[in-house]
């Protein structure tokens, strides 16, 4: 919050200097790799690398291309999963409560529900809609699964994720009107939607009431309902939060479920329950003193709150920098906010501002000039690990339909550092033992899958083993082997290595050792690819 307040007060003089100073020394390929992973979830291609090597100024055009790529939408969905925390395997309504579904449909059921609000954000990003649509839009996103189980119909195409509308007459308020959000964040009779109201504040205003210290007044008899109500309304320690939290909570009674495990009750919005606050908290809907209206009004209040845009900037900055904003970032947050506002509140304008700022640039050598707050290196998320492996090798690790790196009950999402909001509230930002083990097994499977696939293909059709005959020992064509290793480094690690460099030498030695053990050239190449996919620089970028 302090950071937010300081946004308006701090100037950006330092940044001009930063721009000039750092631009001259940044490795354009490392910067491009970072942007590609952040904006598309994949490594840059050889052609893209060549473009920035030839002209570092091509970075700007490539960033634009990345944000026009179909994968930008899915990457936004992936990045903001940590904010919304809606992807889950723990929704209260069991899949089998829907007659149309079977137990085997669980993966798609869970994935679809959890992604609903995130898909709205993804569509906003991909189509340059204003970010305010996230809370004011009169549409949602649905796929075949959601159209089967909920009162929602597509307004565009007939298959896959499409812009849609609910048909149960619920007020229009973007993500605030989605079942996906409120199935994830439920409430109880005693809680009176306060937990949900806090999620509204946390997600859209970057203010989490629960991080405030709570000082229980020991003079208040917590067993006396009237005394508690009185304290909530009059005790300064209670009022500080409840005066703003409770009115927001009262907007959400249309999502009050009598039986939150019943598809019949929880699939639809309940306008007849909107006044439920009258018999619970007794606090009328309102937004920081501005009372009245329904969920649509709440969305418009949020969109008009200056903190909404500032929070959008903070979320984007935190996701792309993979660190929290600090007081020292106040000046750049101001710059990004101005770019966001000036760009029509599109995520593209905001992301562009961040990825062009010197503070975003990786540091590749000790001789480079650095700027305060610059993140010299950061680590991929579990989902980025998954998407870059899939792009490179074609291998997606699923089990019984569950994406192993995006699920936790049977998957390895938590072990790979993925926040789920239950066991972990933030993504891991540094390597740990289980993440390294996940990387290892993923690398083994993916390399073997790529080897199996490309072994059957002509060299010209391959994506990775483009330089060699997979059946030929290195000695048969040493130059091709060297070129192959160079190509793998460029494609997998975004490093251009010299033919006589230590990387090539080490990988040739590895190939020879593997070949000596198995006497199979193709498997030795699979081993080399495995090693590159397990490299520290495959995680750190």
């Amino acid at each position: 919050m302090v950071i937010t307040l300081l946004l308006l007060a701090c100037g950006g003089d330092k940044t001009d200097t930063e721009t000039t100073g750092a631009a001259a020394t940044t490795d354009p390929v490392a910067l491009l790799a970072r942007a590609s992973l952040d904006l598309r979830g994949v490594r840059p291609t050889e052609g893209e690398i060549s473009r920035v090597e030839a002209d570092p100024e091509a970075y700007a055009a490539l960033v634009e291309e990345y944000m026009s790529d179909d994968r930008f939408e899915t990457q936004v969905i992936s990045l903001y999963g940590e904010v919304f925390l809606t992807p889950s395997e723990s929704f209260r309504v069991p899949v089998t409560d829907y007659a149309e579904l079977q137990y085997k449909d669980r993966p798609e059921y869970h994935r679809s529900i959890g992604e609903e609000p995130l898909r709205i954000l993804g569509h906003i990003a991909a189509t340059d809609l204003p970010y305010t649509d996230l809370v004011t839009g009169d549409w949602t996103m649905s796929n075949d699964m959601l159209r089967t189980i909920w009162p929602v119909e597509s307004t565009a195409g007939s298959s896959g994720w499409q812009p849609s509308v609910y048909t149960d007459g619920r007020p229009a308020a973007g993500a605030l009107s989605t079942n996906g959000l409120w199935w994830r964040f439920s409430s109880t009779s005693a809680n009176m939607n306060r937990k949900r109201a806090n999620q509204v504040s946390r997600i859209f205003l970057c203010h989490d009431y629960l991080t405030r210290p709570i000082d229980f007044d020991r003079d208040v008899n917590l067993l006396d309902e009237e005394a508690v109500t009185d304290a909530v309304n009059n005790d300064p320690g209670c009022v500080a939060c409840h005066v703003s939290l409770d009115p927001i909570a009262s907007y959400l009674y249309g999502f009050w479920y009598i039986d939150d495990q019943s598809s019949a009750d929880a699939s639809s919005y309940h306008p007849e329950r909107e006044l439920g606050w009258q018999i619970t908290s007794g606090v009328a809907p309102g937004y920081y003193g501005d009372s009245g209206g329904n969920l649509t009004a709440l969305g418009h209040h949020l969109a008009g709150d200056p903190r909404f845009a500032e929070c959008a900037v903070e979320h984007a900055f935190t996701r792309l920098m993979r660190r929290d904003a600090t007081l020292e970032d106040s000046d750049v947050l101001t710059i990004h906010r101005e770019a966001f506002l000036g760009g029509g509140l599109t995520l593209r304008s905001l992301f562009s501002s961040i990825v062009h700022h010197p503070r975003y640039r990786p540091v590749q050598s000790a001789t480079e000039l650095t700027v305060p707050g610059q993140v010299s290196r950061k680590m991929v998320t579990a989902e980025q690990l998954s998407t870059q492996v899939a792009d490179l090798t074609g291998f997606t690790w699923t089990s019984d339909g569950y994406d192993m790196l995006r699920t936790d009950d049977n998957g390895v999402g938590n072990l790979a550092g993925r926040a789920d909001g239950f066991r972990m509230s933030r993504h891991t930002t540094a390597p740990n033992t289980t993440l390294v083990l996940v990387q290892e097994r993923l690398a083994q499977a993916a390399a073997m899958y790529a080897g199996q696939t490309e072994y059957e293909q002509a060299k010209s059709k391959r994506k990775l083993f483009t330089q060699i005959d997979l059946d030929a020992p290195v000695a048969q064509d040493h130059d091709a082997a060297v070129a192959q290793i160079q190509a793998l480094h460029l494609r997998v690690l975004s490093h251009r290595v010299a033919p006589d460099g230590p990387e090539v030498e080490a990988n040739l030695a590895l190939w020879e050792e593997l070949y000596a053990a198995e006497e199979n050239p193709a498997l030795a190449w699979v081993g080399v690819l495995t090693a590159l996919l397990r490299d520290p620089d495959f995680l750190l970028y």
């Binding site: 009779s189 809680n191 540094a430 740990n432 495995t530």
Partner: protein, 417 residues
């Protein structure tokens, strides 16, 4: 004979079984040699079912048929449907301490969990086990193993690993986790895996050595350290089984193995059940408590029968912290449930604490009573018994200075031996 039984060589602690007055500790270990098992009942338990003997408070809904009972100096709530509770108290009061009226400052699961485990609400700081594990004087392969329950690694991630509730860690170590992949792939040979492991180990070390300063160095070091630990873990797979389940007894076996083999100094396990009883509190909490104490009984028996590294049994070297993130309201709601409450109970067992004792308490309003830290006794002018103070006490108990890790609270010196 499973792998756990194979490595648990003798029942060295059996000599104390059946002693009247409950088991007592043998010679206690030095704080820095102590190990920690944290048992976390996630969802918010109702202390009036076991720890909070507040029968005299008319505003508190106690359970029908519950009765006050005592084991040594420790009063507890006994109930005919929960025989394991009484058995546990009678068997272990000589080495346990109950803290009642512990304040967790919030009534939100996530925040209470962070406070109970870290003393902070950011989720960014490491929890007590991670701090203790990272401060180990020994070079351990996996200082903190999380078999179940919450974990906050903070910046100590390289020292912490989760096992996963469905045997994920075991599957990762063996490679068998890939057998369930929907896309079928041939496994790499053991020989090839070994060669690549050695290559990666060298590469990780070289990368760390060549790292720049700042984040690059931090991350490269963490990668290198994690790589070495992951390779070490593969060796451990042949002497212990990381496969667990939501069952506390199964988790207890993994926990004891991890401590006995020297793999870890700290292990966190979880009791999984629907403790969040906003409806049907009496019916739903009862079997959970019975199951929890059955599991705790198994855990203590395993510690008793397992030789310690320096003391006769692992029980002589191991502190067990049993907690839940919050308590539950004293009165039943309209659906016979109980909602969230910011005061709860916790339990400590093992070396270094004054045993056979209850500290703190609940007042007539079912809020925590204040205590003096100097002796742990109730005092109207004392401090509220906070989760942070319990955390600071556990850190000190394990030989870690709590000062840099806990703000606003100090250890309860009066309960430490």
């Amino acid at each position: 004979m499973n792998r756990r039984r194979f490595i648990a060589t003798t029942a060295a602690g059996l000599g104390v079984l059946g002693l009247p007055g409950g088991r007592v500790l043998g010679a206690t270990a030095k704080p820095s040699d102590r190990k920690l098992i944290t048992v976390f009942a996630q969802g918010g338990w109702d202390p009036t079912r076991v720890f909070a003997t507040v029968f005299e408070h008319s505003d508190v809904d106690m359970e029908p048929d519950a009765a006050l009972s005592t084991a040594g100096n420790i009063p507890f709530v006994d109930h005919p449907d929960r025989p394991s509770v009484g058995s546990f108290f009678h068997a272990n009061h000589g080495r346990m301490l109950v803290a009642n009226g512990v304040m967790v400052r919030s009534i939100a699961h996530e925040i209470c969990t962070m406070i109970a485990m870290t003393g902070d609400t950011s989720g960014l700081l490491p929890d007590w086990p991670a701090i203790i594990a990272a401060g180990s004087s020994e070079e351990l392969t996996l200082p903190h193993l999380v078999v179940g329950g919450p974990s906050f690694a903070g910046d100590l991630g390289a020292s912490v690993a989760r096992a996963g509730q469905a045997g994920q860690l075991e599957g990762l170590l063996s490679g068998e986790i890939l057998q369930t992949s929907d896309l079928s792939v041939y496994p790499q040979s053991r020989a090839a895996q070994g060669i690549i492991d050695r290559y990666i180990s060298r590469r990780a070390s070289a990368r760390a050595a060549a790292a720049l300063t700042g984040a690059d160095a931090t991350l490269a070091d963490a990668f290198s350290e994690s790589t070495q630990r992951s390779l070490g873990l593969k060796d451990y797979r042949y002497i212990m089984d990381f496969t667990s389940s939501p069952d506390l007894r199964a988790q207890a076996e993994v926990a004891v193995d991890a401590l006995q083999t020297g793999l870890s100094r700290c292990v966190t396990v979880g009791h999984f059940g629907n403790w969040d009883t906003h409806a049907n509190n009496d019916d739903d909490q009862a079997p959970l408590w019975e199951d929890l104490f059955q599991g705790l009984g198994t855990l203590m028996a395993l510690l008793d029968e397992t030789p310690g590294a320096q003391k006769p049994t692992l029980a002589d070297e191991t502190v067990v912290l049993v907690l839940s993130e919050m308590g539950r309201t004293p009165q039943l709601n309209g659906t016979l449930g109980k909602d969230h409450w910011p005061f709860t109970s916790m339990m400590l067992l093992g070396p270094g604490i004054t045993p056979d004792r209850v500290i703190g308490g609940f007042d007539a309003g079912y809020m925590g009573k204040t205590i003096q830290h100097s002796d742990g006794e109730l005092s109207p002018k004392g401090q509220i018994l906070s989760a942070e103070a319990i955390g600071a006490t556990v850190l000190q108990l394990m030989g870690v200075d709590p000062t840099p890790h806990v703000s606003g609270a100090t250890a309860i010196e009066g309960i430490l031996l």
